[in-house]
């Protein structure tokens, strides 16, 4: 029994590699900060104290973490089925646009119908967009990476076309000010389609919270999505089949599991998570589709999932970490009057990802060597 304990120790090590990677990345970041002649202690102190030292900071962090939870789940869920869905970006566009369209079209529906309908539209749009690469992979074997990349471009162009089609007319103030060019955007969604900001809830609970903070109910939807992803993957028959296909398609087929069906389903669920980004960006924040409002979130999901080891809990934690870095980075930029550019924080994020990959591999080799029973 003694040996089994040792075994667990390595499993633990495997699980906490991202933590080690983050620590190493912060050290590398410190060196970079020193190289540009700043004080790393001050920078990190400013970064963390502003990001997580008060309620406003936390609100901002969670607001930035919310879409990353969705897109992180997108990558993680598909990965469990052995699929590399890098089409989160496109699925996010389509889902969000569809939700926006529902939101500004069915304006006379009451909130208790319109909000669920918009959420459903967001998920359905993402799911449908992801179904295409899923079906192509299942039926013809075309690699999902190729198709999802291509579908990202189609989605970007399609939503651009649609936003021009549904372009809001400039309001009087803008006309009066002589603004002719504006970033293309749609009309606002109905009041009844908007998700409440957390400020409203805190106010109700008599908790002091700034009214301008953008964190909204979509954060809870993201947490619910993570719980749902976990439940599907590890507690249901569907998850058993999806993971079986991911681990070993041949064994799954042998066990009477339809590989194609599960690939399509996994892609659709994965895409639905991406579509739900719209609940935060439109339903909870801007209330309209605005061109190039949130580009890149889909791709950041890849890094989030990687750091989170493709586990829903890990995704939530790593999305929050990325939220801290994003928001804290912006604050540091202001505090240092631009001497520490926001790009430095992006460097930090990239370094974390690289360290995760490296430490993962190192730990894997260590374990393989240790476990070797010849």
């Amino acid at each position: 029994m003694k040996s089994i304990k040792k075994f667990d120790y390595y499993i633990l090590l495997e699980k906490i590699t991202p933590l080690i990677a983050v620590i190493f990345a912060l050290l590398v970041g410190a060196i970079v900060i020193m190289l540009i002649g700043e004080d790393p202690v001050f920078v990190y102190k400013t970064l963390f104290s502003n990001a997580i030292g008060n309620r406003d900071g936390w609100g901002n962090v969670l607001f930035r973490a919310t879409p990353l939870i969705f897109t992180g789940l997108t990558v993680a869920f598909a990965f469990r089925c052995g699929l590399f869905n890098i089409g989160g970006e496109g699925q996010m566009y389509i889902g969000t646009f569809l939700a926006t369209w529902v939101g500004f079209t069915f304006t006379n529906l009451p909130a208790f119908i319109l909000i669920p309908l918009c959420i459903f539209a967001a998920a359905a749009g993402g799911a449908l967009w992801a179904a295409v690469p899923g079906i192509l992979k299942a039926k013809t074997g075309v690699h999902e990476v190729i198709v999802t990349i291509m579908m990202n471009w189609i989605a970007a162009s399609l939503t651009f076309f649609l936003v021009l089609k549904f372009r809001a007319t400039p309001n009087e103030a803008m006309v009066a000010a002589g603004v002719k060019q504006m970033i293309p955007h749609t009309s606002e969604i109905a009041e009844a389609a908007r998700l409440p900001r957390l400020y409203n809830i805190f106010k109700f609970l008599n908790i002091d919270f700034p009214s301008y903070n953008q964190v909204n109910v979509s954060f809870f939807i993201a947490i619910a999505a993570a719980v749902l992803a976990y439940y599907i993957l590890w507690k249901t028959n569907l998850g058993y089949e999806i993971r079986a296909v991911g681990y070993s398609p041949l064994a799954a087929e042998y066990g009477g599991i339809s590989v194609g069906k599960n690939i399509i389903l996994a892609m659709m669920i994965s895409g639905a998570f991406a579509g739900l980004v719209g609940t935060n960006e439109v339903m909870g924040f801007k209330y309209r589709w605005r061109q190039e409002l949130f580009t890149g979130l889909g791709f950041n999901g890849i890094a989030v999932a990687l750091l989170g080891k493709n586990h829903p809990l890990g995704v939530v934690l790593s999305a929050i970490l990325f939220g801290i870095l994003n928001y804290g980075g912006a604050i540091v930029n202001i505090y240092t009057e631009g001497r520490i550019p926001r790009e430095l924080i992006m460097v930090l994020q990239a370094v974390i990802v690289i360290f995760v990959v490296i430490s993962d591999e190192v730990v894997k080799r260590l374990i393989r060597q240790r476990r070797k029973v010849v």
Binding site: K6, Y240, E241, G255, R371
Partner: protein, 512 residues
């Protein structure tokens, strides 16, 4: 006292979970064929890897020809004239025989160009010295496994090896090829080479070796002169208890026809016909064994029967119902159990736990899938009872399958497939790579099903297994059944010939 070629003294090698070699002493005389036997995980491969420099021993010494050697990597081993023929060949398929042999030690013209003529000549010399011919310009991908193995042997000799380590060399060969290999090894011995022969087939030890070292759980349990011992003694030394060799089969008790295949045809992955006009029947309580060199359509046949590959024509019947081209799930529901030949790829999901693997195939059904979610109480209960009944070790249902030994992985498969009383059991290469104890277990399970009146389709490349289990033997060659024979009225030699298709003409006039 004969001259000592190799001496390994007090070799200890620890891995965190296991002591792979525990103060092992291993001595090989010059010019002998020395068999190294033991179950899987007994430490044979570790010991040989240490000799070849792939691992370093934690303690102990190695002496080559009486001189202490410090073998830190395979290059040192090669310089010390130690050669190793791995079980899985290390050849480059698109290159020629000669190119493969000289790889890494190319003879040079003017120090720049490869001297191919010299290489070809040297290869011819070497093969001639062992009494066989080989075409140095043939491509590896176009020659048979048996010939590929000779290329490996020549490669080792080309590098000047005096001590040859052969790691389970017969596992991939037909009986004829095994005989030819033994002739080659004997001629090498005559040339004064020293050969270490790793195996767990005991008849080979008897046929070939001069001495035998038996290992168990990392320790040497005995060194014997082959002529002073017998298979039973070696087997009990290997396993640590008495092993019953002769399988005692109960008399045949045939019921009605359970399974029938009619004029079945199917293609392989390259879209060539792989199953060609195959027809056979299996009755209740009968084992039909398929003998054949691997790659003659056995894999495809099993895949067609189990729904993993479409039949292009022909019919498959389980009792009276036509199950041709049913889905794998439907076929499972009709109670056809399948122990697949490719255990690692097909049979198990190595990243799933024992409990999860034990429900594969019935995971979607009651009682394991209930309502919205899986019923873990039932799944765990199921796992615990099978682990107990089949003595799966370690006995924790939450272990990942990849942490289990091959024998225990196979037990998981057998337990899962036999659960729920199948009507037909398909066992493909059921004991491949297993140790003596596990083989005994699997054989007993198969015979037990037979005696319960189940129909059994056995496929094996191991003729001994085919003979000891089958009630009838079908020989398959190039996708066709060459003949179906009564094991009492034939012998390994005859089957071996049929397997290579070589005596087809002689067999043709015979009416069955």
């Amino acid at each position: 006292m004969p001259e000592i070629a190799l001496e390994m003294k007090n070799i200890t090698k620890r891995f965190p979970l296991v002591v792979a070699n525990d103060k092992v002493n291993f001595t090989v005389y010059k010019g002998e064929i020395h068999a190294l036997v033991g179950e899987n995980g007994a430490g044979k491969s570790t010991l040989m890897s240490i000799l070849y420099g792939l691992y370093q021993a934690d303690s102990g010494q190695i002496f080559i020809n009486g001189k202490k050697a410090n073998i830190t990597n395979p290059k040192v081993a090669i310089n010390l004239k130690i050669g190793m023929v791995h079980q899985h060949f290390m050849l480059v398929p698109p290159l020629t025989v000669a190119e493969n042999i000289i790889l890494g030690m190319e003879p040079k013209k003017n120090n720049i160009f490869i001297d191919m003529e010299k290489a070809v000549k040297r290869v011819e010399e070497l093969s001639k010295s062992m009494g066989f011919k080989i075409d140095p310009k043939a491509k590896i991908e176009n020659i048979s496994v048996g010939v590929q193995q000779r290329v490996e042997i020549i490669k080792v000799l080309y590098r000047g090896a005096e001590i040859l380590v052969m790691d389970e060399p017969t596992a991939v060969l037909t009986p004829q090829e095994v005989e030819e290999l033994f002739d080659i090894l004997k001629s090498l011995k005559k040339q004064g080479k020293t050969i270490i022969f790793i195996t767990h087939k005991l008849n080979e030890v008897k046929d070939l070796s001069d001495r035998v070292t038996v290992m168990r759980r990392g320790k040497v349990v005995g060194v014997k002169n082959t002529k002073d011992t017998n298979q039973e003694e070696i087997a009990s030394m290997m396993v640590g208890r008495k092993v019953i060799f002769d399988i005692v089969k109960k008399p045949l008790n045939l019921g009605r026809t359970a399974f029938k295949v009619e004029k079945l045809e199917a293609f392989n992955n390259k879209r060539f016909p792989a199953v060609r006009n195959i027809s056979f029947k299996i009755k209740e309580g009968e084992i039909l064994g398929f003998a054949g060199v691997e790659g003659n359509g056995q894999t495809e046949l099993v895949e067609v029967i189990t729904g993993l590959r479409p039949a292009s024509s022909g019919k498959i019947f389980l009792y009276d119902s036509d199950i041709t081209n049913y889905s794998p799930r439907n076929i499972r529901e009709d109670k056809i159990a399948h122990i697949p030949e490719d255990r690692r790829q097909r049979g198990i999901i190595s990243d799933y736990t024992v409990a999860e693997n034990l429900i594969l195939g019935s995971h979607y059904r009651l009682p394991y899938n209930k309502g919205l979610s899986l019923n873990f109480t039932e799944i765990n209960h199921h796992a615990e009872s099978l682990i107990k009944n089949y003595d799966i070790r370690p006995s924790d249902k939450d272990n990942l399958l990849k942490s289990l030994s091959g024998g225990n992985q196979q037990k998981v498969i057998v337990a899962r497939e036999l659960f729920g009383e199948p009507k037909l059991l398909i066992a493909a290469q059921p004991t491949r790579g297993l140790d003596v104890g596990s083989i005994e277990f699997v054989h007993n399970q198969i015979l037990n099903e037979r005696d319960k009146g189940k129909a059994i389709l056995l496929i094996s490349a191991d003729l001994e297994e085919i003979f000891s289990l089958s009630d009838r033997i079908a020989v398959i060659y190039e996708g066709k059944i060459v003949d179906i024979l009564d094991p009492q009225k034939t012998n390994e030699k005859e089957i071996g010939l049929l397997m290579t298709g070589s005596s087809l003409n002689r067999k043709l006039p015979k009416v069955k």
